[in-house]
Amino acid sequence: MSRSALQLLDLHKSFGATPIIRGVNLDVREGERHAIIGPNGAGKSTLFHLVSGRFPVTSGEVRLKGESITGLAPFMINRRGLSRSFQVTNIFPRLSVFENIRCGVLWSLGYKYSFWNMVERARDARERSESILKQINLASRRDVPAGVLSYAEQRALEIGITIAGGADVIMLDEPTAGMSHSETDHAVELIRRVTEGKTLIIVEHDMGVVFNLADRISVLVYGQVIATDTPERIRANAAVQEAYLGTATAEHEDA
């Protein structure tokens, strides 16, 4: 079996006296596509924020490729090869689409805080950004300010920025939220393509997307993982059906 990409060990998070994440253990293997599902308010987004360093953890440990990243700032975690997207589109609205991607590329190519070389002359950054623009089908919108893109285009750009730095662990927070059916199909295709050979952790409400994409699924209910297994076994799991899936799969099969 392959090595572990991301490990969560007895992770806890409380806001004031309110526990939101109550002892989560998770082990995502390298190259796996892992989906996290669960009812609203289960703590899926909070879990993402804890792993990516946006919120400090209350207790427990996060390990990326075997090394602890607990308590590190988001930019440190990103430099170690974990990149995430956001549920609410989080781009650089006044910069062009191309520049949005390039911002995601610069650090990983070693440009760091340099102010002694011209960014236009950075051929590697330009070529990498342009190849990512092609991958996310936004090459024709290259010089448009990102703020004027359509919603679906902004979601694609969000994924583009996330993968731009070449991180090998990608976390996507509801990438298809608010999309139409055809847009969702495109997005799933895009996610599959750009995360080829990488570890993917995805929070998603659309069960079609989840069962289509994931190798394994974890079900988060009230801040605890009640099951982690393959899609078929999760579908058959009685506890999961009771807690969450029962209604959702019924709806999905009706639809």
Partner: protein, 422 residues
């Protein structure tokens, strides 16, 4: 747009700018205008350095004169040491002392203030500004107390027989430094860090998730900005040959904000326009009226409310129209708006000047002259005239404004349509 032709066009712009700066003293030959252009030179550097923070990295500073003023003081002290010790250092390198002083203090104060962003950063910058201003009155040895630090720029090592006594020689010194700094600051905007400053301004959270520490980005930008502010302060010290404690105070900190904002913080050229205009106004307007600061304040309010992209924004929004050849279509509307705008402006000027005369110059009696009109400041007839002019101006501007906006919109749409056609 290919990178090659764009690059060549950029170089051409710089050559034109350098030629213009070299030729200007032959066009405006009077001593007063050469002095004014010298002031504009370091005002441009100061305003651009400020905009590195506000326009590019989204940091609103109320204490930028700290780095300008301390750069000036260090330059003056360095000049005095060089003069007394007969050190073989020529004057043209002295602004570098100012720059390094600005950089050093930015390293210290920036380390504290860039730990925060937004409102907290603005408050800390205000606090540091007040702190240094208070120190300038206490530390008399360094700041020279009420009299300030006097110096002489002519006592340095002479190269090629240039004494830097005549103002024209100082003008060229300032002009060369100004061109170098403008070019360097422009180049900064196109570096990886310069682009990440924009990213941090737009969305600091996301910048953290693409591997950049927003605090470090802000800190480095702050230090670079402090360096250029210090260079500007050093040039000011060389120009005036005196630095007083008022240069580190709140007034120049506020003035540089006005220069950058009125010029337009979203454009690189904005603060240059702002610095040139505001310096000209500061000097020429203060000859005509004691209420000149009030006009600058009114202009600031106008820009904030009606032209948030500044004067550069107002100018550059016509660029697509000019390129597509639809600019002529807005001219009738502009001509129509000219009279109402002039009426309103005249009304405001008459009102301000009359109030100013009654409140400040009451001892000179009521007789006054504004805009080539002689009248009595306390005459009811004059007041009625002023208020009527003002009311008519406001009414007419409000009537004509939608038509101007409509004409501009139509011309812009047409320009877009023409561009879309092959």
């Amino acid at each position: 747009m290919s990178a090659g032709s764009g690059g060549r066009w950029h170089y051409a712009q710089w050559v034109v700018a350098a030629l213009a700066v070299a030729v200007l003293p032959y066009v405006f030959t009077s001593g007063a205008s050469i002095t004014m252009m010298s002031l504009m030179g370091f005002a441009i550097i100061f305003a651009l350095s400020y905009n590195m923070l506000l326009g590019q990295a989204g940091m609103l500073s109320f204490g930028h004169a700290v780095y300008y003023g301390l750069g000036g003081f260090m330059t003056a002290h360095a000049l005095n040491v060089i003069g007394a010790e007969k050190l073989p250092i020529p004057l043209p390198v002295l602004p570098l002392v100012g720059g390094l002083a600005g950089l050093s203090f930015a390293l210290i104060f920036g380390w504290v203030s860039t730990k925060r962003s937004g409102t907290a950063f603005a408050m800390i910058s205000l606090g540091i500004g007040e702190l240094v201003a208070a120190c300038s009155l206490i530390l008399r040895g360094f700041f020279g107390g009420e009299g300030g630090i006097s110096t002489s720029r002519t006592s340095t090592l002479r190269l090629f027989g240039i004494s830097f006594g005549p103002q024209i020689q100082v003008y060229y010194l300032i002009a060369v430094w100004c061109l170098l700094c403008v070019a360097a600051m422009y180049a900064f905007t196109r570096t990886p860090l310069g682009r990440m400053c924009n990213a941090v301004r737009d969305n600091p959270e996301r910048a953290e998730f693409v591997g950049y520490s927003t605090q470090m980005v802000r800190f480095i930008a702050f230090c670079v900005s402090g360096f250029f502010a210090g260079v500007a302060g050093g040039l000011a010290a060389i120009h005036y040959e005196i630095v007083t404690s008022s240069v580190v105070g709140a007034v120049p900190s506020g003035f540089v904000l006005l220069m950058a904002y009125i010029g337009g913080i979203a454009f690189f050229i904005g603060p240059i326009i702002g610095a040139v205009l505001m310096t000209a106004l500061q000097i020429s307007l203060s000859d005509y009226t004691g209420a000149w600061l009030l006009y600058i304040g009114l202009m600031f309010i106008f820009v904030v409310m009606y032209a948030p992209w500044g004067l550069a924004g107002l100018l550059l929004m016509h660029q697509p129209l000019l390129a597509a050849g639809t600019f002529r279509r807005v001219l009738p509307a502009y001509a129509l708006a000219l009279l109402p705008v002039l009426m309103l402006a005249a009304g405001v000027v008459l009102l301000v000047e009359t109030c100013h005369h009654l409140l400040v110059k009451a001892s000179e009696g009521p007789a006054m002259r504004v805009l080539w009109i002689d009248y009595q400041a306390n005459s009811p007839l004059a007041w009625a005239g002023i208020l009527m002019l003002l009311a008519a101006g406001i009414f007419a501007v409000r009537r004509v404004a939608p038509r101007v906006a409509e004409a501009f919109h139509a011309a812009a749409q047409e320009a877009l349509r023409r561009r879309a056609e092959p």
